[in-house]
Amino acid sequence: MNIWVYVLRRLLYVVPILLGVCLIIFVLFNVVAGDPTHLLLGKHATARQMAELRHELGLDRPWFYQYFDLVKSAFTFDFGRSWSTKQTISTMISEGALPSLTLTIPGFVITTILSVSLSLLVSFYRGSFFDKSSVIFCVGLMSISSLAYILFGQWFFAYYMDWFEISGYDSGFPNFIPYIQLPVLIWVILSIGPDLRFYRTVMLDEVYQDYVRTARSKGLNEKVILFKHVLKNAMIPIVTYVVIQIPFLILGALLIESFFGIPGLGGITLNAINSSDFPVIRAMTILSAVAYILFSVLTDVLYTVVDPRVRLK
């Protein structure tokens, strides 16, 4: 099948998926979460004011109108204004995406390079002390709460050693660099445990394949075997794992952004949840659903690039 036909067909799936996502969001916020007007009006809210606000926000209209509005916003990306901050949500997203990406992209790239490289190394030394230590190291890293890394890292490296900024953010290159150094380091520490363990398993699966033994018996050196053969064959799980994480990079890192005062989408989402800011939560959920769908299509397409045996049907 032509790749473009395949992509188009997959993209058409976005329609029913988004309708379903909208339905779930609608039920969660309109049925389960209750009336947000008290939170929005504060401690002096009167019944009349609450009724007026419900009317103003369109919450007193029949449910199918409200659902239609939700669906419309999902397809037009016009999410309106935040209930609590009164800012246009598209502006909030466009202003928040960049700070999030300045943190998550370097963290993600460094972690991926490091963990893929280390996984190759440990699979090369499989069964050795180095390999076993790496497994213990990964489990150790994963056993500690992410909050502990953030609190300790901020106190020790930024406050006590004075190596990094404690918190804050300046937009524009290179102004933001001093502010993302420590958050990126913590991101790497937080992600390297699970990533290295995953890639090690992938590499070990490949290392024991027949073609590796064949290559060795042909006298190829280990570097060629690892980089040319093993890595190439391990690309499908690697691509899946990498590409599917990309949508979450846009959404930022909730805790790291919050502790380091980075004005990214993670912080915006957290704030919206705390203040029952339905339009913002709705926008972020729809955005992540769309990004997830698009990147899963991209993953499928990339399969054909990294492994010519894969055919799209």
Binding site: A33, A47, R81, Q87
Partner: protein, 597 residues
Amino acid sequence: MATNDGLKRIVLMKKMISVLLSIALVLGLSSCTKKEVSNDKVLNLAVSAKIKGMDPIYANDLYSSNEVARVYEGLLEYHYLKRPYTLVPNLAESMPKVSEDGLNYTFKLKQGVTFHDDKAFPDSKGRELTAEDFVYSIKRLADPKLQALGWWLLDGKIKGLNEWRDKYADQPKVDYTEEVEGLKAVDRYTLQFKLAKPFPQFLYSLAMPFTFAVAKEVVEQYGKEFINHPVGTGPFTLSEFKQTNKIEYTKNPSFRKKVFPSESSPEFKHMLTDAGKTLPLVDKIIVNILVESQPRWLNFQKGRIDYIGIPKDNFDSAVIPGKGITDDLKAKGINLTVTPSLDVTYTAFNHDNKLFSNEKLRQAMSAAFDPVSSNKLFYNGTALPAQSVVPPGIAGHIEGYKNPFFGQNIELAKKLLAEAGFPEGKGLPEITYDCPSSTISRQIGEFFKQQMSKIGVRIKVVQNPWPELQKKIKNRTVMLYGIAWGADYPDAENFLQLLYGPNKSPGANGSGYNNEEFNQLYKTAAVLQDSPQRTALYEKMNRIVAEKVPWIFGVHRQSYVLFHSWVKNYINADFNAGQAQYLNIDVAAKKEASKKL
């Protein structure tokens, strides 16, 4: 062959290590963050919540109202150096003339006050403030289309304003030119209010950001984006507004001649060294939005934030009970100020529930609760156990008064419970205690449960998202709920209204308490100006609620704030929205002190 393999492995490993080291270098591990202290007078602040925006009519939380008050101003303000809180003119030339019946208030405005320069004005030059601006700003507060969060303040208070609001509720457009009987610009500089009924707290409304002056041209120029473009008459102009990160202000170059006060209460005499100096005293303000307490605390210790409310988790490392701050902080030149907050925490009974019409049961539960232990557990022992509803610092609070059912008195509680008809809790159903969903609220709920179990009262703690809890309170489906109230203005009426029968939920009286004697006293006091007679009525109401136990009283919190030696004139206050203009920074002292941080 084996040796060859080994060598190859070593080479490969070396390459990997060099990659790791390069990444470490890119991360800039060796970078240093020491910064030079600026020669400008810059006030560095940190707030723990995102700012809702810069429109006065939506500034219903402490953080937003502080930001709004840097740019906008009102007719009145609280005297910076006087306690008890005293209202003084700000944009008004003098205090208003009040008619004998207390219904008419006439203000003369200061002349020559101008708005900040902005493109909304002809030639981008800020025009003069007039009485019409206040008429417009207060109508905005009442505009049914804007859903202002401060409307409660004037709801039913100004003659004709509610009618004006109701008239346009269902119309597509609101007509601001239509006259409102109780709100008039008599001439360019004279403003007149006619109240619908006596409201002695009216003047406090005019010191709150909700009623601050905005210019019609600016509102119309920016439309919905007005919330991001504040243009007021205040001491600072907004230079950068990143709602989730940082807000920067610079000194308003065209600010009118306003000087630091030359009178003060005795406790603030030492601040009079700046008396007569032109305000504002600093050149720039940087407000950092830091939601988490650790970065606020660490930045403060590094001198990058000038003052900070001590985070709960850092309290023990900063304060030694009864002795003040630790030697380490003292050596850094850090100072502590402790101020009682005008608030009260409480556990309310739902009085629509027949079970709680049993007064003895309420009294028994009050006597079983231990506010002293609660204070130690949840407020580091810094709060003041509440004997009744009115906090210390305002008229109506009775100094030295002891609530007869103040806990913990298990013996009395058991006796009262038996008299209530539930000896050892027998026959008493399980009581649900609803609270917000935060960790601390759950802990307070669990503590309450444990306290009540001592007399055999069974409690079930139920956590709710905040809107859900409010819904339950409004719909009267709660039994008990834990909550707090902070003052909107320094008058006991603001607390007593929470127990006034006709204010029953969905009004402010969430517990639905209805006591005829209390109601009568409240009605009488509500129309009286501040006087010994009114104070006596407040005190009487305060005693009634202590004895009848409509709530189980918790604590009045105190705020502990640390500030650096270079910050001058800092006062911690409940109503300090315009404070930044009075603060001063000693740059030389900062340079010196920063070396120790």
